[in-house]
Every structure is written in C-alpha cells, then in structure tokens.
Subunit: 147 residues, 2 copies
Amino acid sequence: MTPIRSADELSPGMSFDLGTFVLAREEVLDFARKFDPQPFHLDDEAAKASIFGRLVASGMHTLSAAVAHLLRSGLLAEVNLGAGGMQLNWPAPLDPDTPVRLTVTVEAVRASRSKPEMAVVTLRYAGVTEPAGATVLDLVAPHFMRR
Amino acid sequence: MTPIRSADELSPGMSFDLGTFVLAREEVLDFARKFDPQPFHLDDEAAKASIFGRLVASGMHTLSAAVAHLLRSGLLAEVNLGAGGMQLNWPAPLDPDTPVRLTVTVEAVRASRSKPEMAVVTLRYAGVTEPAGATVLDLVAPHFMRR
C-alpha cells in the first residue's frame, strides 16, 4: 500500500480497505495458551457449553492481529508515532480460519496542542468476516502521527 | 487466589491485589515481531529516536499479559463468561524486565437485563511498575459473570 507521507493527507471520512487476514486454528490456540487461557478459547468441548457455543479466538488476538495487519500494509509506516489508547468492542466473536476484512476510517484529525509537527488522528478499525459479514472488531484509537 | 463463586460476592470499590508480572525482553521482542512490528518495540537504536526514547513493550502486550495474569490468579475462574469490550489507556510505556503490579477494582455490578443468572461486572485494571510507580495500563472492561 502506498504509505501516507503526512497526517495532513488525512481527513475525516477517508477509508482504507486493507484486505483480509486469517487467524489459523493453531495460532488461536497458541495465543490463548499464552494470554487468554479460558475454556472457550482452548477446548472445543468446553467451548460448546460457553456463551459462545464454540471455540473462538481471544478478542485480544483479534485486536493484535488487526493492528499487525495494518502495520504490515505499510500505510502508516512513515507517519505513525504510537497510539494513545483505545475504545474496543467485539460485537461478534471470531472463528478460527475465517477471513476478516479490515477497513480503517479516519474519524478526526487535529494538530497536537504541544507539538506542531505532530497531529492526533483518530482511526476507527472495523474487522468484518467473509463471507458472513459479522463484525468481530470495532476499535477507535487516537494515533500520534507526523505531519 | 481464592476464586469468587458468584458475581453477587462483588460490590463497587472492592479491590484485588494480584501481585506482579514481568515482560522479559525476549518476550517483548517476540510479541512485537508478531503483532506490533514498529521500530520502538524492536530496535534499541531506532527506539532512541522515537517519542518513547527507548525500546518499550507493545501496549497490546501489556494488555494481554495483564489479562493473562488475572486469569492465572484463578480469581475469576468460576464466574467469568467473557468480556464485552474495553476502554484502554497506557499512561506510561512499559520497559522490558520491569515488574508490574496488577490491581483490579470493581467499578459496577448490575444484573443482566436478559439473563437473570448473569451479571455484568465492570472491572478496572491498573498496572503500575515497581519501584517507579508508573501506570502502564488503565483498563475498564465489563465482564459477564455467573451469579
């Protein structure tokens, strides 16, 4: 993806289709063993009795994989300085081996109060499964970016 | 830690000291390679020129490790059904090999509207480094729990 060269190229409403990523079953289990060892992320039988009814990916895995996918796209490689926080929702759980299309939309752009060479760009990340169309990630995050 | 047996045991203001966890430098690099491949999480020299001034852990790693630490404490093992979203802040970045004390405080408890056997318990996670006292994680998350 062609990298953005300055936060000044971004304006509210701009949207970027970043293609799809997949969390393979083995990756889902590996992440859950390390960071989210709960029955509904680790064991098919136990997961059947959970509120999800089946084994699903850790929401933190969905989050981390989406951010990784954005970073690897190169879109923000020349401008991103870090993210300042997040409002995070998982409207639907993510099944292993299911493609997730990631779209990032610019919600707001403002100059930094203290540092004129920086802007705070609020991005909304939407992860939607294919072909079912379930939203598995809805994330709003302010990013510090170079201008 | 003695597991909670019902969300009804929890009330606003209750607080649980879960002890400390550490992200070793190799784990920090490994997480960053997989999920947050940015110079300030991967390379000491490049990190010096970043807004952090040094190599720091991915905020998603701090988050995931804190949740893992809470889960491994066993406190919620008998009640937790899943978390519904998060408001997430990283007031300070986390250095590798630095102990983080995790405290979880109950902010609110309410019965589920649709499922009387469930409650929604809002927990606030605070991760504070030792001995410096820097807050590296401030997380508010509604958890669905058994009553």
